[in-house]
């Protein structure tokens, strides 16, 4: 089957990418080891050698990047199977973060530990995805509403969800009660909080499972087949409607998980948390290749790491500028992205 072959190619490319990242990390670790570091993380941050600082921002970038990767997989796959650019995807991210906050904070009259609230938020996100496909985008697609109109619809949807969340959650920024104060621990030259380390591990696990799901299971290969060539997939007996629904559920669930992580890892939960991530997600998805899940993962990690590393030389104000500039440059030079296939996109 052509899809499994494509999967192998993507897997090899992914492998190459992991090797490169590994080499960079090891290399910079060697640099960092050249000057001994000690003491608390604050001292380490201030007095660290360039290699040490590089390693620390790389790890921080990995957290950002994994969160972007988690959220972008859905964006990319939904585009792949339906051809829809979903400008409301950021709101699915916010939704997960906010649901988890309500469960965790106790403002609904009961308190749930974040470790339990997160899976509930993920399920809620999946249900929201299913609802959007069943109640809005499925019917619109069957009425053959043109692509441009659908994109404008997602803009309207993004306005609706974002401001419903604003009314429901409020304009304040809240931290999750469970992880309001965190202390960084030193692991050699790297200092990282436990919860960020957990985010890295869980994200890698989840992305690994998603990768296995997409390459090994019938539903997953079906998704990639539909993304690859919808007519051909339909003709070979794949239930495209079921695949599309599953993609919405999975993509929205992953977005919700990414939202919780973003709320834990950075700046806390706010009503426009996802909207602020949206352009970074687009950058990741385009960098990796629109419509490919593995591309979104690679692109997300690259965007996260490179924007954090840029903060070594440039003011943090330029982080987003860099990411968006990368996005535009990639479109000019290689519009199909790193893992995308070369095809006519004009």
């Amino acid at each position: 089957m052509p899809t499994s072959e494509k999967g192998r190619i993507s897997a090899t490319r992914l492998g190459v990418f992991v090797l490169v990242v590994f080499a960079v990390v090891v290399g910079s670790e060697a640099l960092g080891a050249a000057s001994p570091l000690g003491g608390s993380s604050v001292v380490a941050q201030v007095s660290a050698s360039f290699g040490g600082r590089l390693l620390n921002v790389t790890v921080d970038g990995l957290v950002v990047g994994l969160i972007i990767a988690l959220t972008s997989v859905g964006l990319s796959l939904i585009f792949g199977v339906t051809g829809l650019i979903n400008f409301a995807h950021g709101e699915l991210v916010t939704f997960g973060a906010v649901v988890a906050w309500f469960l965790n904070s106790g403002s609904w009259g009961f308190r749930v530990a974040l470790a339990i609230a997160t899976p509930i938020a993920v399920v809620a996100g999946g249900l929201l995805g299913a609802g959007l496909e069943k109640g809005l985008f499925g019917p619109l697609r069957r009425r053959r509403v043109p692509n441009v109109s659908l994109i404008v619809t997602t803009i309207g949807l993004s306005l609706v969800i974002r401001h419903v969340i604003l009314i429901w959650y409020g304009p304040q920024v809240h931290k999750y009660r469970d992880y309001a104060i965190e202390i960084a621990r030193d692991y050699g030259p790297v200092s990282i909080t436990d919860v960020k380390l957990a985010i890295i591990i869980i994200s890698l696990l989840v992305l690994g499972i998603v990768g296995l799901f997409l390459t090994k299971t019938k539903l997953g290969t079906g998704m990639r087949a539909v993304a690859d060539n919808r007519e051909l997939a339909e003709a070979s007996g794949i239930d495209v409607r079921k695949i599309i629904l599953a993609t919405w559920v999975g993509g929205a669930a992953l977005a919700a998980l990414g939202g919780v992580f973003q709320g834990i890892g950075f700046a806390g939960v706010s009503w426009d948390l996802g909207f602020k991530l949206l352009l970074l997600m687009f950058a990741a998805v385009i960098l990796g290749g629109l419509g490919t899940a593995f591309g979104a993962m690679v692109g997300g990690i690259l965007i996260g790491v490179s924007t954090q590393i840029s903060s070594l030389w440039l003011s943090t104000e330029f982080k987003l500028v860099i990411a968006f500039a990368v996005l535009i440059l990639v479109l000019m030079v290689r519009p199909q992205g790193i893992l995308g296939r070369r095809e006519r996109v004009g």
Partner: protein
Amino acid sequence: MDLVRSLVDAIRSALGTSAVMFALAGVGLNVMFGYTGLLNFGHVGSLLVGGYGVAITVNLGGPLWLGVLVGIAAAVVLGLIYGLPTLRLREDYLAIVTIAAAEILRLLTRSSALEPITRGVFGIQKFANAFYSLNPFPLGSYGIWRITWSANTLWAILVGWVVVGLSVLLVWALTRAPWGRVLKAIREDEDAARSLGKNVFGYKLQSLAIGGAIGSLAGIFFAVQTQSVNPDSFQPLFTFLAYAVVILGGPGRVLGPVVGSVLFWFLLSFTEAILRQATLAGFIPSWLLTAQEVAAVRWVLVGLGLILLMAFRPQGLFGSREETLIDAR
């Protein structure tokens, strides 16, 4: 509840400065989106360069008229920058690139690196005294019945609507000429237009440049009227609202954005005034909605309106169905 006051507020806002600004932005967007089918989600970028073009030029000692020209020229250049790399790509790529480019502009404008020129997050104020010194109305308040404006605002609104009229005339003249028919042909079927020997790429670029130039007038109007520019006035939300205005009035209709803007601001202010009064008077229980949340409810309604229009009446309230089966796939 004071229905009359709500009505007065709504009429004032339907004819006022916001309506002028969105009418201008809409006329520009209509050239790109309504006539050519280009999904430019960075329209607010042309307003930004327009407004800052005026503010910076005057701030550096130039006259106001030169600032206006600089603003328009900057928007034309921006349109070309948007278009050159991306017009050969599919429409959804254009949408992403333009929204990212407009955000880059806003972030650069508010960055401390450019603060000597743009004054960063503080913005630039008091640069349009030359405009108000031309104001023929003596101090006071003018209007009919309870719908009144101050002398300066009235002067700005009058000039604003004249500019709206001129830009509508320009678009009318352009689109009834062969040039406009080529744009529509590109919107309906790009390949067909190309097979007739039309330089599709060139026409799209011209559409982006002209649409951007008209859009910059909205930014210039806003800057001059409020005598201030600030990077955070130019958020992506503005572009989305401009889409709502164009779609409400009917994309691809010369007067569509103007009617759309007046109607949009009338409905927006009217619902806001009614909801605000209803929450304050206790008709809506406070657990459901408080007066502070009314502003957010407006955007929910705008979003719902966009979804419903796209689903059931993509041609807007006044467009014709055959004209606007926009599908640039």
